[in-house]
């Protein structure tokens, strides 16, 4: 009896101790199992957009859309084609850490309530993120991502990842076509990209398939029909595009989280290149030209202007990447008094300045369409689809269809930018645009696509597929090359590109992998920590 009493007392003491010790649940934050699908989706979209558009910023510097005022910084290194462990890191981290790790918990939460649309969207986002990274980096961890027991995930080749990506997109289309269970949250609650339209999401999935399948142009396995099949279900109209609408919260709100990524990323140091301007103004070898030339109506919304001392708005001076300018200037705009006579102020920054000019204040920059604080992120557009179509048709030797798609692509981009349709049509019917199918060249298609996909990471895929402006031997060739005038910058990072036939082919492996996962990195590519790694073609960039 006494013994039982002791045991009883002991067990009461023990269980009350256990309860007393049970205080290890953080009262200030819910844990990762708590959020619902509709609470998970908005940050997935916002963080994805950050990583994707920031990759686009990097590509813009690399692809000579933008130059940087002189500074030894990450963006400047991209202008000399120097992707390194440090400047390649953000798209990687923004995807893996800020975005991807949240997708499975969203899918799990959605499965619990039969919210199939969230499951489908989750799969598309997963496919899109891994697909984007795969194209930039060529190799990346996929199978061992987010495994609690693995601190050093192994790398897979991009070809493997693309297979997974296409599977995910197919699965997603099935999920998005399902009817959600009663009580499941409507997609519109958490969908900050496509407003809950499953049709737009399905079109996005097909659009991505078209994009990825079209990357295979150098491969024997390239299947133009498969691309066209995907395009048939992809966005056909501008309104079917997936465009992320940023929010300008006004001058008094400190937080910058909702403003356009390119406003944030371009900061005050990005400048327009001569190449980008030449493409816009048809000033390149083989550009369409004739008696009825019309100025591109996008010119003044893409190229910033500033007021000179007479108060007249003057377009930014341009940075010629083949000149010595990238090495020595233009120096930072702020280093001088803001009088128009100074040499640096003619290189106008991309950000509007002042943001809200008061009467009599000098306009230092009119800004650009992409850098409005409340601007748009053109993540996947009808314009891109039309240019893919134009390229495929061109390859299939259907110049008339190619010309139609080429014009539709230009029209779509202009319309999305809000250009008045009269101006668009005037331009499209002028000699500034190819009018005769037989005259259309792949170069003209790709250069218009280059403009329509300004600051998009997809530009990097295109310039690699087209081998820049090089011929088959890899040497710069103005007559046969695609991106006319796109040549080595004067300050090219020679360690990575010792030969004239070396061109940027991939981003460097980010520092987090170099520092903390080097064994797996080297296992996947023994050259990955060397400077020439970035001129090695990724899987689809070679036969």
């Amino acid at each position: 009896m006494k013994k039982i009493l002791y045991i009883l007392v002991l067990s009461v003491v023990f269980s009350s101790c256990k309860k007393w010790l049970d205080v290890n649940e953080n009262p200030d934050s819910a844990n990762s199992t708590v959020p619902t699908a509709e609470q998970r989706l908005p940050p997935i979209l916002a963080q994805f957009a950050d990583g994707y558009e920031s990759a686009g910023t990097r590509v813009a510097f690399l692809s000579q859309q933008l130059a940087v005022t002189y500074a030894i910084n990450n963006n400047w290194n991209f202008t000399r084609w120097y992707a390194n462990a440090s400047n390649s890191g953000w798209p990687w981290q923004a995807w893996y850490v800020n975005t991807a790790v949240n997708i499975d918990p969203m899918i799990t939460a959605a499965e619990g309530v039969g919210a199939y649309h969230y499951i489908g969207v989750g799969k598309i986002m997963k496919a899109w993120g891994f697909g984007t990274l795969s194209d930039l980096f060529g190799m990346l961890p996929y199978d061992e991502f987010n495994n609690v027991t693995i601190l050093t995930p192994k790398f897979e080749d991009g070809s493997y990842v693309q297979g997974k990506v296409l599977e995910l997109l197919d699965e997603a289309i099935v999920d998005l076509k399902k009817t959600q269970e009663a009580g499941a949250p409507a997609l519109s609650v958490g969908d900050m990209l496509n407003g809950g339209s499953t049709d737009k999401w399905i079109r996005l999935a097909y659009g991505l398939k078209a994009r990825y399948l079209n990357h295979l142009t150098k491969k024997a396995s390239y299947d133009p029909q498969a691309v066209l099949d995907a395009l048939a279900n992809a966005p056909q109209m501008d309104a079917q595009s997936s465009i992320y609408q940023y929010i300008d919260e006004g001058a008094t709100v400190t937080s910058t989280s909702k403003q356009a990524l390119q406003y944030t990323n371009f900061s005050t140091t990005a400048r327009v290149t001569k190449l980008y301007y030449d493409y816009l103004t048809n000033n390149y070898t083989g550009a369409p030209t004739g008696a009825t030339n019309v100025q591109d109506p996008r010119l003044d919304t893409l190229i910033p202007r500033s007021q000179n001392s007479a108060g007249v708005l003057v377009r930014s001076a341009l940075v010629d990447m083949q000149s010595v300018l990238p090495k020595t200037g233009p120096i930072d705009y702020s280093y001088s008094k803001n009088t128009a006579s100074n040499k640096d102020s003619i290189y106008v920054q991309m950000r509007k300045n002042p943001l809200l000019p008061t009467a009599g204040q000098r306009i230092l920059s009119t800004g650009s369409w992409y850098t409005q604080k409340g601007g748009k992120g053109l993540l996947l557009t009808n314009a891109e689809m039309r240019f893919i179509e134009a390229e495929v048709k061109f390859r299939q030797n259907q110049p008339a269809a190619a010309l139609t798609a080429y014009k539709a692509g230009i029209r779509s981009h202009m319309t999305i930018m809000g250009i008045a349709s009269a101006k668009i049509e005037a331009y499209l019917s002028s000699s500034s645009v190819v009018q005769i199918p037989g005259n259309l060249t792949l170069s003209q298609i790709m250069i218009q696509k280059y403009i329509a996909l300004s600051y998009s990471p997809e530009v990097f895929s295109d310039i690699r597929r087209m081998n820049y402006c090089a011929d088959a031997s890899g040497n710069y060739n103005e007559s046969t090359g695609i991106y006319k005038g796109f040549n080595r910058p004067s300050h090219v990072y020679i360690e990575a590109y010792p030969n004239a036939t070396d061109w940027p082919r991939r981003f460097a492996i980010p520092s987090y992998e170099i520092n903390y996962n080097i064994e797996q990195v080297l296992k996947a590519n023994p050259n990955a920590s060397n400077s020439t790694y970035i001129n090695e073609p990724i899987w689809w960039d070679k036969p």
Binding site: V23, P43, A46, V101, L151, Y512, E513
Partner: protein, 1028 residues
């Protein structure tokens, strides 16, 4: 006895007369108290006179005396003895061996006093006199140089700034490595500052000088501090004992009279060392190839003859003052005693506007009633600090710290001129945007103050019940509560990021509350005279709760009004953190002593911690220690008078910080649509405790009748299963991940030599030398991790880092690239050495090879002269201050700019695509210094030695005969003290005792990183103590 004493004292007070009664000769003998053998050479003198003698070989003496005079007997190795002469003509005096020098009693774990000779491990005690000899507002600094194996680093000269203390190296790669502080039987918080709110308001450890909370203790209240150096000594305290423990015992009233003591001190401090600057070149920059004067840097033209070169750095610092007043009254009877004290310290800093003010009150009391003893130890303190921004200022603010601004300030500009005539800010470069300009340090100290205020209550109450001679029970309940308010102001118009240019105010209230309940059963019994057994059984429960509320306002609506309310709702932010942890422990300590020969101790403790996953909550760890006094077996010898060998083995577990077993969230997010996403850190639900295993061997030898004592210790500590949150591959989905991998080993030796070369009735000289060496090595890091950084300390091109299979207190940095043969790699066209942006190369080890102290004390009559030297040999420092000076063009080193440097190395020939040996001459211009030179971290790393006169103290007590004339007066002592009066070092920067981010940094800490902090000071103090 008490009555007699009282009559005697009264007699002395009332009947002391200038005319002494007639002298007569007193004869006597002095014997050893145990076996009554005569003691030769004992000094005898009549107190307050010049009369004195010594005993002869037979222990006999004669001396002329008058009635009521006092005789003092002094003999080395023995306790002093005093007696008052009555009417007797002969006297026999028995002298006792001095327990102070041999049978020293030390307060050990759980407050148990033990004879030092029993201990199977190394422990050392410092008494109140020693603490007050170089009294420092921060008691940790008073330990510096005095104890072998204890490394104290003051973070700088700011009032109220933290000092870190590490015993025998760090045991945790990413934990707190400072010892547990125990005050009157209760663990007490000694955390530092708030430098962990960076994402909220930019407060990082390096941004300002925070206090470590042991600073809330009034040093005058301390009776003794025991330093328990290793796990064996501290095993009973569990968890945090792996890093050792500091046991503080506060003063008690003494049985007898009530006494009052008043102490006043006045201190003055000045900068002891500031870096040199060049005085040849003015403001400007040609970094972009074109000269511009629109730069704060000093890469411009030469000063013209006759142009003023301002000593901006030298003129900036002020002489600081402090007033330190304290008072106490204490007394006691047979059944009770009390001690009541109050103190105030008002200290200004060498950086204008900075200060530290501390007031304390303490009440200790004890009362016996029958078998019961009741007691209380309580203190209340209020500490206030005004600090300034250090390092690079608030994290992510785009601003600077005050010292970085001084370092940057061009010397053609008068830095003291910081306001325009109309009271607006005078800018250095008014044409630049505000965030591109630099703030004047005077602006920073006046307009952007960082302040804090702490109210703290520490108290324990206890009951002891003595059931029998051999059995008693003690229950103790303690609380440690404090509230700290931190304020950080960035005034409108500061050169910071856009969001804060119209002002930023951040306020954080940190509420710490700790409750400790401890029950101990003590058994003690002696068997057959020779066997002495004791057993201690105890249980303890700890409940820690920390709440931190932060609020921030940005963009003040009314620029001149500083308030959280003075901003739009959208620009007001709020954040709360609650941290709870609980711990249950059951412990036991069994001790066995055989004669005076052999002492053994076994302890065990089981802990249950709330911070570990349920299945791993319970963990047990034992310790064994023993000592063997081999001289007991040898014939008595005056050469080797005492010899002891000791050994111990101990294990200590350590739990995780709170809330690491799950992954938590970021959110609600500020991005479009809000919502939640996973935090950067992955939780781990299979964490187990860390374990530190320690082995220690030592010996304690006394020679020449205990005149010289030598103590030597060797130890090996291994800490494995480290709970870490290393940075990991992003492809894990996280930036940081909690893991249970990693091992550190600390091996070291410690020597202490105590000697009393002279001791007689008038002169006494005591000297103590201590030396120690520790080697902390990382045996294992998780996965393929080559390196672990201390996040708080990444400055210039170097970082505090621990290397896998390398130094625990390492330095990593970027370096000029070399090929496998060690040839420099050069740029083919420019000839510049190629630099690397990866700061992962081991470039130094911050751990000193040898540290030590030499402490001397001379007493002559009523004078005492003490001085403490401390020294250090080896250990690297990254001179980040010099890095800044170089970047800004104010380093002395850049004075020969424009010279030609020749580099020989290998370069990639772009034509042949092969590396070829080339020699090229380059011009050491601004670009070279900023981009090439600065990127080679070894240029800024110095292996440092120093010898420092840490303290010098002279005290004079009024002689008894003068005291006796004044009624009610018991003693008057005047002291003069100097601190840091001499520093010999090969270090080129400021004071090499430096720690850029203070004591709040985890892991290998910020010791050895010098980065634009507050320079150390030298000082002088005079004080007066009067006892009634």
């Amino acid at each position: 006895m008490k009555k007699t004493l009282l009559i005697l004292v009264l007699g002395l007070l009332f009947y002391a007369s200038p005319i002494l009664a007639q002298q007569r000769v007193l004869a006597g003998s002095v014997l050893l108290n145990t076996n009554k053998t005569p003691l030769p050479g004992v000094s005898i003198n009549v107190v307050g006179t010049n009369r004195g003698t010594q005993t002869g070989p037979d222990g006999r003496f004669t001396i002329p005396v008058a009635p009521n005079e006092k005789l003092r007997f002094v003999y080395i190795g023995f306790e002093n003895y005093e007696m008052t002469i009555g009417t007797q003509t002969t006297v026999t005096v028995l002298l006792k061996e001095d327990v102070q020098s041999l049978g020293e009693v030390i307060v050990t774990a759980m407050g148990i006093p033990r004879d030092k000779k029993e201990l199977g491990y190394s422990a050392q005690e410092i008494n109140s006199t020693e603490i007050l000899k170089n009294k420092d507002p921060n008691i940790i600094n008073s330990l510096n140089g005095k104890i072998a194996g204890v490394n104290v680093t003051n973070s700088g000269g700011a009032p109220g700034s933290s000092a870190s203390i590490v015993i025998r190296g760090g045991t945790s790669l990413e934990g707190n490595n400072q010892p547990l502080f125990v005050i009157d039987g209760m663990p007490m918080d000694n955390s530092t500052g708030q430098g962990d709110n960076s994402a909220f308001d930019g407060s990082v450890n390096m941004a300002t000088t925070n206090s470590n909370r042991a600073m809330d203790i009034n040093p005058e209240d301390i009776e003794s501090m025991s330093v328990l150096k290793g796990p064996a000594a501290a095993a009973l305290y569990g968890l945090r004992a792996a890093t050792g423990a500091i046991i503080i015992t506060t003063k008690k009233g003494k049985e007898g009279t009530t006494s009052v003591s008043v102490t006043s001190r006045f201190m003055t401090n000045w900068v002891n060392k500031v870096p040199e600057q060049q005085s040849t070149y003015k403001q400007g920059s040609s970094y972009n190839g074109v000269f511009t004067d629109q730069s704060p840097r000093s890469w411009g033209n030469k000063f013209e003859p006759g142009e003023t070169v301002y000593d901006n750095m030298g003129d900036f610092f002020q002489t600081a003052h402090a007033y330190d007043n304290s008072f106490n009254i204490s007394g006691g009877s047979k059944n009770g005693n009390f001690y009541l004290s109050a103190s105030n310290l008002d200290q200004s800093g060498i950086v204008p506007t900075t200060d530290f003010n501390r007031s304390t009150v303490r009440f200790n009391a004890e009362q016996k009633k029958g078998i019961f003893t009741f007691g209380v130890n309580s203190s209340y303190s209020k500490s206030k600090t005004q600090k300034t921004l250090t390092g690079s200022g608030l994290w992510g603010s785009n601003g600077t710290g005050y010292m970085e601004s001084i370092i940057a300030w061009p010397r053609n500009d008068d830095m003291s001129n910081w306001l325009n005539a109309d009271g607006t800010k005078r800018r250095l470069l008014p044409d630049l945007s505000l965030d591109a300009d630099a703030d004047n340090p005077n602006w920073l100290i006046n307009k952007n103050p960082q302040t804090d205020e702490t109210d703290r209550l520490i108290g324990t109450v206890y009951t002891n019940i003595k059931f029998a001679d051999w059995f008693d029970v003690t229950y103790r309940l303690g609380i440690d509560n404090y509230v700290t308010d931190f304020n950080s102001l960035t005034s409108p118009g500061s050169s910071v990021k856009e969001a804060w240019q119209k002002g930023m105010l951040s306020q954080t209230t940190r509420d710490y509350s700790y409750l400790n309940s401890n029950l101990m059963l003590n058994f003690h019994k002696t068997f057959k005279e020779d066997w002495d057994l004791s057993l201690l059984l105890g249980t303890t429960a700890e409940d820690t709760y920390m709440k931190s509320n932060s609020a921030r306002a940005e963009q003040f609506t009314i620029p001149t009004f500083v308030s959280l309310n003075n901003a739009n709702n959208a620009n007001r932010y709020f954040n709360q953190t609650n941290t709870k942890r609980r711990l249950l422990g059951v412990y036991g300590d069994f001790r066995l002593a055989y004669k005076e020969l052999l002492f053994l101790s076994v302890t065990g403790r089981n802990d249950w911690s709330s911070t570990l996953p349920f299945q791993n909550q319970s963990f047990f760890y034992p310790s064994f220690s023993g000592s063997f006094i081999f001289t007991e077996l040898l014939p008595q010898s005056s050469l080797l008078s005492f010899g002891k060998l000791r050994a111990s083995y101990a294990q200590v577990g350590k739990d995780a910080p709170s809330y690491q077993t799950q992954t938590y969230l970021f959110g609600p997010e500020l991005t479009i649509g809000g919502g939640f996403r996973n935090a950067w850190t992955r939780g781990n639900d299979i964490l187990k405790p860390e374990t530190t295993t320690s082995m220690e061997f030592g010996t304690d030898l006394r020679f020449l009748n205990n005149r010289i004592g030598i103590d030597a210790t060797y130890y090996v500590n291994r800490s494995k299963d480290q709970i870490l949150q290393p940075r990991v591959s992003n492809a894990t989905g996280y930036i940081l991940s909690y893991v249970n991998i990693g091992e550190i080993e600390n091996k070291g030796v410690e020597f202490t030599i105590n000697a009393s070369p002279m001791k007689n009735s008038k002169l006494r000289w005591d000297v103590n030398l201590n030396l120690s060496h520790n080697d902390g090595v990382v045996k294992e890091l998780p996965g393929a991790l080559p390196i672990l950084y201390v996040t708080d300390v990444q400055v210039g091109n170097a970082k505090a880092a621990s290397f896998n299979k390398g130094d625990f207190m390492g330095l990593s940095g970027s370096k000029w690239q070399t090929d496998v043969d060690g040839n420099l790699l050069l740029d083919w066209t420019t000839g510049y050495p190629l630099t690397s942006t990866l700061a992962t190369t081991p470039v130094g080890n911050r751990e000193p090879k040898l540290i030590g102290g030499l402490n001397n004390s001379f007493s002559y009559k009523n004078w005492n002269l003490s001085f403490l030297f401390d020294f250090r040999k080896g250990g690297d420092i990254y001179n980040g201050t010099e890095y800044l000076l170089t970047a800004y063009g104010l380093s002395k080193n850049t004075e020969d700019r424009g010279k030609t440097i020749s580099f020989t190395g290998m370069a990639l020939n772009p034509t042949t695509k092969l590396y070829e040996s080339i020699t090229k001459e380059v011009v050491a211009d601004e670009k070279y210094y900023r981009d090439i030179y600065s990127n080679n971290a070894p240029f800024f790393i110095e292996e440092v030695n120093w010898l420092r006169l840490r303290s010098l103290s002279l005290a004079y007590s009024l002689p008894d005969r003068v005291i006796n004339r004044a009624k009610f007066l018991k003693g008057v002592t005047v002291t003069a003290q100097g601190t840091n009066l001499m520093l010999l070092t090969n270090y080129s920067g400021m004071d090499p005792e430096t720690s850029a981010a203070g004591a709040g940094v985890i892991g290998s800490g910020s010791v050895g990183i010098d980065y634009a902090g507050v320079p150390a000071t030298a000082g002088f103090a005079i004080g007066l103590n009067v006892k009634f």
